[in-house]
Amino acid sequence: MDLDALTGCLASSACLVTQTTSGLIIGMLLFLVAVGLTLIFGVLKVVNFSHGAFYMFGAYFAMTAYQLTGSFALAMFCGAAGTAVIGLIFERVFMSRVYGADVLMQLLVCYAFVLIFDDVVRMIWGPEFKSMGMPAAFQVMPLFIAGGVVPPYYLLLIGVALAAALILGLGLARTRIGKVIRAAAHNPGMVSALGINTGLIYGGVFALGGMLAGLAGALAAPVRSLTPGMGFSVLIESFIVTVIGGMGSILGALIGALLIGLIRSFGSLGFPLFTEGLMYLFMVIVLVSRPSGLFGKEVA
């Protein structure tokens, strides 16, 4: 424990700015993965255990697109769009067969695909780790805000993730499609009876969730090493986020992800040996005090 370092940091604006942005970055990437997970659970009522694979695909697609075209924007687009397509196919061909089946069955199908997707990546891109490299436009000196260090790339990353959160939140709350999705989550039978194609909605939501995870992977690709199986640790943290925020809640995913990010960034100062532990400890506290998560609906 190193509480002096922590209090020292809280007293200095430079440290505060640096650690807060560092927490935001970790949190925002986590949010993009977790929000897809929570969205899919909210509407389809399945826990998509293979969600980490979409994050992995996003990163690999982005790297390949970047190597082929040299365009960062196109790389991000390919990462997100390519993963959406995989999500759609995966849902229509496989997941749609296990709706309503035993949870264990769904889990097994997802887990099988965790292994299959990892091996597919290994076959296409090889087993060794890869690096996409930072685009030249972002290879600049970091900004200094109130003495704190903020890399420009991370500003972009936070901006994109926030925009995604905003569009998603408003889209679900204000648009007609959003209403239909919420209705389908609440009572799929009724929605179907009203002549709306629920299969299409399910496929769309799954693709959307996959796309967000793919976008997270694409955004992370320039700064994280790419390896088959890279989705797994992200998936575990995303589960913690959804458990803290409440399964099915988008706001919950956002708050949960930011909390985890900040716990990591400030925890590593104050509790360097217990940073991981802090995260789980926080989850336990939430589970004990509010079993359905901070923003989850109370179980009737």
Binding site: A5, C9, A14, C15, T18, Q19, S22, G23, I25, I26, L29, P127, E128, F129, K130, S131, M132, G133, M134, F138, Q139, M141, P142, V149, P151, Y153, Y154, A220, P222, V223, R224, S225, T227, G229, M230, S233, V234, R264, S265, G267, S268, L269, P272, L273, T275, E276
Partner: protein, 419 residues
């Protein structure tokens, strides 16, 4: 094919066919058997995150075995390698090793496991009395601790304590010259990371007593994001940073530290940087990271070493790794010891290998020696230098001095109660 609707028979034959197929697939990867061959078993890691290293071990072994076989084999017997995947799990490594000896009839073992598995295989070698050569475990106690010592086991891997002595004295010289007093460390949180960092710091402080460690970070092995660690180090404002992160973890760390311009603010010492697996992957390698040599074809700067690195690349399409040279050395030593003993018998090879000095492309002076007293390799090329982003990656390596290494190693052994 006849189209008859007799499900019973067709199912049975299908099953038989599947069974046969499964049996074929399950059969281990065996080089073509020949008369009078000697089987050499090799458990290594061929799947999972470090599969690349295991594969590079296998490649190096096969490259050398071909040469030995072309020259007549071991005392006239052709070598037949039986290589199996341990998946990096100690219990699996031990099981595979036992099976290789008991079921497959392997007479010699090459243990190409990481430290976790090597200790397990070591116990199998102790139990079965089979000749065994550890090629990848760098944990010093494997050979330094007299409790581990058995007459039939050897090690061709570099040793952690050698690396720390050379790395510590190299860093201390720079620390003194540039006045680097405040240091930070950042290493993976498991046995290798903790032990290596502690040994390194010990020798750094010994050679430069006014060095002070002001910040320590222990990220988890295979952690995807190091941002909080990077910013923590920036806050501490050290003058120098030591890290023994490796592979994909190291490249992630570099990418993430790069955008915080960390490398411009302190001297960085990363022992595992100068390995082709990391060097060729990092896109924006900062100039001037200090690193220990792992395998690099330009050090030792001899035609033999360059030729070996190029031959490997020509055959496998990529450069060798640290594990490659360590495994190639094992085959070279076995071949030489067998020649000396004029036998392929494990006991006789072990006897001949004690204190054996052979010519080697990886030797600091063109030779390496299997030290008789504790069965570990000495005299291999060891040094530190700074990296540049293109070939030859480490243009100048400052060689470690083996006389000093051996003196300090003896002292270290005493302090541990090993000698």
């Amino acid at each position: 094919m006849k189209r008859t609707r007799t499900p019973g028979i067709s199912r049975r034959s299908t099953l038989a066919l599947m069974g046969a197929g499964a049996a074929t697939l399950a059969a281990p990867w065996v080089a073509r058997a020949q008369a009078k061959t000697i089987k050499v078993g090799m458990p290594t890691i061929l799947s999972g995150r470090v599969a690349q290293l295991g594969t590079s071990s296998r490649n190096a072994v096969m490259l050398e075995v071909e040469k030995v076989n072309a020259a007549g084999g071991l005392a006239g017997r052709q070598i037949e390698m039986v290589i199996r995947d341990s998946k990096g799990q100690p219990q699996e490594a031990a099981r595979v090793a036992r099976e290789l000896v008991n079921t497959d009839g392997c007479e010699l073992l090459i243990d190409a496991e990481a430290s976790s598995g090597a200790f397990a295989v070591h116990e199998v070698a102790r139990d079965l009395g089979v000749f065994c050569i550890h090629t990848n475990s760098e944990t010093s106690s494997l050979t330094a601790d007299p409790k581990q010592h058995i007459p039939n086991a050897f090690r061709t891997a570099r040793q952690g304590v050698h690396d720390s002595i050379v790395g510590g004295s190299y860093a201390a010289a720079i620390a003194k010259a540039k006045g680097l007093k405040k240091w930070a460390t950042c290493s993976p949180d498991y046995a290798y990371g903790r032990d290596t960092t502690a040994e390194y710091v010990t020798y750094l402080k010994r050679f430069a007593p006014d060095v002070e460690i002001i910040s320590e970070s222990w990220p988890k092995l295979f952690q995807p994001d190091y941002t909080e660690v990077v910013t923590k180090i920036l806050q501490a404002k050290p003058q120098a940073l030591y890290s023994c992160l490796w592979g994909g973890d190291l490249t992630s760390y570099i990418d993430q530290a790069n955008i915080y311009a960390l490398f411009g603010q302190m001297e960085v010492f990363a022992v595992n940087m100068a390995d082709y697996t990391a060097l060729t992957v990092v896109k924006n390698l900062p100039k001037g990271i200090h690193s220990g040599n792992r395998y690099i074809k330009t050090y030792p700067a001899t035609p033999e070493n360059a030729a070996w690195g190029d031959a490997y690349k020509a055959k496998y399409g990529e450069y060798p790794t640290n594990w490659s040279w360590e495994n190639a050395t094992a085959i070279m030593l076995i071949a030489e010891a067998s020649k000396k003993a004029n036998s392929a018998d494990g006991k006789k090879i072990a006897e001949a290998m004690k204190g054996l000095k052979i010519k080697s492309p990886f030797g600091a002076d063109g030779t390496v020696t299997m030290r008789g007293e504790d069965h570990t390799l000495i005299g291999y090329a060891i040094g530190w230098g700074t990296t540049i982003p293109q070939e030859p990656y480490v243009p100048q390596v400052q060689a470690g001095d083996w006389k000093t290494i051996l003196e300090l190693e003896a002292e270290w052994k005493k302090s541990k109660g090993y000698a």
